[in-house]
């Protein structure tokens, strides 16, 4: 009998391990609500000075790396996609179990929420990152009372992800280049041009918030008072704002004033932020990498002045924030490279980047004799034979590789998790990255760039010699 009990226990243990592993693989790892909370738990206890709460307008518009660079503020974006205030409230309660921030900033765009419940997909992004706790239970209950158990367990909701699994699902996020250095920011590297911003200065009347939304707004104020932590309300700037939304925000301002909570409505402060509608917006609702940098820099100054927050730069315990800023700066540089269409400036940016592995392939009639191509390339360190005969040059922080001439060659290398296969023969060149040929031009310069710091492929670009080195992407 004893043997049978041991056997059953071992079997049950194996089954539990198996199910546990399946849960780790299948669980959702979205950056728009789940990862920020999961990585929040990884932060050193009581190390964060400012926590930003709210929806996508928080995690895409406020960049902790910029606050760090500007004023040494240790901040974190703890937000979820389309997060209603009732979820924000439980995020705040949960976060205060682990951190004692000096200021809590709540972005209130979702005060426009008039529904009693939002769609369940949002319950996923706003509760799945939370550890099992009373706060999580309440957050799920207030969001989807009819599906309480599956959403608390999680696995029944996401077990059918088998068709969308990728390599990332088999990795522990702690091992990724981001890991605990990630501070919840989700940059939008796209740009949509607008002629201007909507002028909201004329909208002075206010509109009652939905009862559930107002109730939780007041709970947030009460929580901050109870915890004796200064609270700030803000509204992120966005191009698509309409009058009725501004009226809701005006009501938020009134409630803030009643309770002595500072209220920053950035839809009335476009000029102070120096936002450019042609360059700084990702789309009608969010700022892009440039716009978020401006807003974050403004916030850094404002918070520093209002609350005299400590400058943590140089403190050993805050190395994560420094690392996060470095990663961000590299991502920003990567984006600048993606946006660059001129061959000369592109190569110059590339050559100055110390964290980049890049491949330059000179193919076909690559030199149109009209530009100082050879000088620029030899200046970067490319061997002269390649600049004369054509070929492939790979520059990496770990060392260079050069393949001159048109002779048959095949070379394989790994770029992070990607596979790169280079083939050259009399017919031409193939630059096969993860089964896709990235060769952009048969006559000219082909470049592949890989960001070693963030472990991300940056761009594949060609400059066509026959088109005056026009950019081909």
């Amino acid at each position: 009998m004893r043997k049978k009990i041991i056997k059953s226990t071992v079997f049950l243990l194996l089954a539990a391990l198996l199910l546990g592993r399946l849960n780790t693989i299948f669980r959702l790892k979205q950056e728009d609500g789940i990862l920020p909370m999961e990585i929040f738990y990884e932060q050193e206890r009581d190390s964060i000075d400012v926590i930003f709460y709210g929806s996508s307008h928080t995690y895409s518009d406020i960049n902790p790396a910029v606050l760090w660079r500007e004023a040494g503020i240790a901040s974190f974006d703890l937000a979820g996609s389309l997060q209603p205030l009732w979820n924000t409230y439980y995020y705040m309660k949960e976060s205060l179990k682990y951190q004692r921030p000096k200021v809590m900033v709540v972005e209130l765009v979702r005060a426009i929420e008039e529904r009693e419940y939002i769609e369940e997909a949002r319950t996923v992004t706003n509760t799945f990152g939370m550890r099992f706790s009373r706060e999580k239970y309440e957050a799920v209950k207030v969001s989807t009372p009819d599906n309480l158990i599956p959403y608390l367990l999680g696995y029944p909701v996401y077990h059918a992800r088998y068709t969308e699994l990728s390599g990332e699902d088999f990795e522990d996020f702690g091992d990724t280049p981001k890991g605990r250095t990630y501070k919840g920011f989700y940059p939008l590297f796209t740009t949509k041009e607008f002629d201007g911003f909507s002028d909201m200065s004329g909208v002075t009347e206010s509109r009652e918030l939905a009862p559930k939304t107002e109730a939780y707004l007041r709970k947030i104020i009460a929580l901050a008072e109870e915890e004796e932590i200064p609270l700030v309300f803000m509204i992120s700037p966005y191009q698509g704002i309409i009058d009725s939304e501004q009226q809701f925000f005006n009501r938020c301002g009134e409630i803030a004033e009643e309770n002595g909570v500072p209220f920053l409505d950035f839809n009335l402060l476009y000029e102070e932020l120096k936002l450019n509608p042609k360059e700084d917006l990702a789309e009608f609702s969010h700022l892009n990498h440039r716009g978020s940098t401006k807003l974050s820099a403004y916030l850094a100054g404002w918070l520093q002045e209002a609350y005299q927050l400590p400058d943590r730069r140089g403190e050993a315990d805050y190395a994560d924030w420094e690392q996060n800023a470095l990663l961000w700066e590299q991502l920003y540089a990567d984006q600048m490279l993606r946006e660059e269409d001129g061959w000369y400036d592109f190569l110059e940016k590339l050559s100055k980047d110390k964290n980049m592995t890049y491949l330059i392939s000179l193919d076909g009639a690559f030199d149109n004799k009209e530009q100082p191509l050879k000088e620029v390339l030899t200046g970067m360190g490319m061997p002269v034979e390649i600049t004369e005969q054509g070929g492939v040059w790979i520059h990496s922080p770990k060392g260079d590789q050069a393949f001159a001439g048109q002779a048959d060659m095949q070379y394989y290398m790994e770029l992070g998790d990607s596979d790169l296969l280079i083939r050259r023969n009399s017919v031409g060149t193939q630059l096969i990255l993860d089964r896709e040929n990235c060769l952009k031009t048969a006559n000219g310069i082909n470049v592949l760039a890989y960001d070693e710091l963030n472990g991300e492929f940056v761009t594949a670009v060609g400059f066509d010699a026959q088109q005056g080195y026009g950019c081909v992407r």
Partner: protein, 493 residues
């Protein structure tokens, strides 16, 4: 409370745990409470119906035990009439009314616009038949009337088989309930075997049946959009779906009962390996077909009568069996087709033998038996089209399209992946089908059930199979609130 629900995942272990802990005399009460709780999970009000059915048949049994022989008929008739009245009222009233109204319309008379319009009480056909079989058994003297109401109530409502069978006989289940205080509850091998059966049943239901249902629903609800290929795949998949759906419930029921030291009767025995339609009915829903055999077919005269009467008995039995499955003409026709198959089977037996002799066909070889199995499957699958279709008109149109829209090119143009399940889902379904085939082959060839076969194997194989099934069900089972990747695309905010 469905077997594949989280609620049952909590309910069952709790019931078993307390069943092991309560005093011997309390076991019956505890299981009775648990069974009523289980049933009330659907609709608490319907517990009154099962209670009414229980009281009627219990009293009928008691009366039969006390009255002289000539009055026993009255008691059994009363039990039948009252019980069947409940069944007819709740299950067939609207169907009957619709047919009466059709007749009235044809005669240009005013229709009766008072449908009963209530939700069909779950499992009413199962427990009604189980209770009725008891009254007949008492009447025939094969079992003694049960004097203890609670024991009898547990017999009618025993939760593992309450809502979808197997339809138990008093000679089996009631006898086991009577011996409940003497049962030795804990037996490692028996409990482990029961749990293995439950796991296999969950796999059948959640991975195969519920996945097949997606394709079946797509094809049957849009049959106008499909040709021969899609409609044939739809019909074949429905055969798979209904088998896995129904057999899985019985398997889980048998496993759950086995955990608690109850042996329920087998309900499915590799039906699609049957070599004739009559054999199919000896392997499909055995508890129901044997019920009809014992309480309808044989009392009407069975096969020990003239050929004409025998065919009549067969036809009546199958028509009633069709009606038992559902209150619609599609089920009646389905039953009728099976009756017809059997009659034709008898009628054409001579011709078949003559053809086999003329063609010197070997009948005792694999190919002949395989041919028989395939023909039987095609015949039963043809009948399933009526069972699944939403109306008789739909069924006829479905069949007509299947034989007139001959899109043979669809075999090769990827049409299979446009029938509601994409390529990965079809692959999972095929994998499930292979596993099902293996398990059924073991059953068919070695006459061994899944649990007893596994118990004979080496530990690494047994555990490997079980862990594989756990993982497959956890990943590929159709459950949860319907996560849809499209719902989560970042820019929807």
């Amino acid at each position: 409370m469905l077997f594949n629900s989280l609620q049952f995942g909590v309910f069952f272990p709790l019931v078993v745990l307390l069943y092991l802990l309560v005093p011997r005399k309390m076991r019956c009460f505890w299981l009775l409470i648990a069974s009523y709780f289980f049933y009330m999970g659907w609709n608490p009000k319907y517990a009154l119906l099962i209670l009414a059915s229980t009281v009627i048949t219990w009293l009928s049994g008691l009366v039969m035990g006390r009255v002289p022989e000539e009055k026993r008929k009255l008691a059994v008739a009363a039990g039948f009439v009252l019980n069947l009245s409940i069944l007819i009222l709740f299950k067939y009233f609207d169907f009957l009314l619709a047919n009466v109204n059709t007749a009235l319309r044809m005669l240009h008379l005013t229709v009766v616009d008072k449908p009963f319009d209530v939700l069909l009480p779950v499992g009413i056909s199962f427990y009604t038949f189980q209770a009725l079989s008891y009254t007949v058994d008492v009447y025939r003297g094969t079992v003694k009337p049960e004097r203890n109401f609670f024991r009898y109530a547990l017999f009618v409502s025993f939760f593992p088989q309450l809502v979808a069978g197997p339809i138990e006989r008093s000679g089996n289940l009631l006898t086991q309930i009577q011996k409940l205080p003497e049962k030795k509850l804990w037996n490692y091998d028996r409990v482990a075997g029961g749990l293995m059966l439950m796991l296999w049943g969950l796999f059948q239901k959640m991975v195969i049946a519920d996945r097949a249902a997606v394709l079946v629903d797509q094809v049957f609800d849009n049959y106008q959009m499909h040709g021969w290929f899609g409609l044939s795949v739809g019909a074949a998949t429905f055969a798979l779906q209904i088998y896995c759906d129904f057999a899985s419930y019985s398997t889980i029921a048998i496993g759950a009962a086995q955990v608690m030291d109850f042996q329920l009767m087998e309900n499915f025995d590799t039906p699609y390996f049957a070599k004739s339609v009559s054999e199919f009915w000896r392997r499909w829903h055995i508890s129901l077909s044997s019920w009809f055999r014992d309480y309808l077919y044989i009392p009407m005269g069975g096969s020990r009568c003239s050929r004409k009467k025998r065919y009549r008995n067969l036809m009546v039995t199958f028509l009633v069996s069709g009606l038992w499955h559902g209150a619609a003409w599609t089920y009646v026709v389905w039953g009728g087709i099976h009756g017809l198959y059997q009659i034709l089977g008898y009628e054409l037996k001579g011709i078949r033998t003559w053809i086999n002799e003329k063609l010197h066909t070997k009948t005792d070889c694999f190919s002949y038996k395989l041919g028989q199995i395939m023909i039987t499957f095609l015949l039963t699958d043809f009948a399933w089209i009526f069972f699944r279709s939403n109306s008789l008109t739909d069924a006829c149109r479905y069949i007509r399209r299947m034989f007139t829209k001959l899109d043979f090119w669809s075999l090769f143009n990827g049409e299979l992946y446009n029938l509601g399940l994409d390529r990965p889902e079809i692959n999972i379904l095929l994998l499930g089908l292979v596993l099902l085939l293996l398990v059924d082959l073991v059953r068919y060839v070695r006459k061994e059930r899944f649990d007893s076969f596994l118990k004979e194997q080496n530990l690494w194989f047994r555990w490997g199979v079980l862990l594989f099934l756990v993982a497959m069900t956890a990943i590929f089972g159709v459950y949860g609130p319907g996560y849809d990747a499209k719902q989560f695309i970042y820019f929807q905010f």
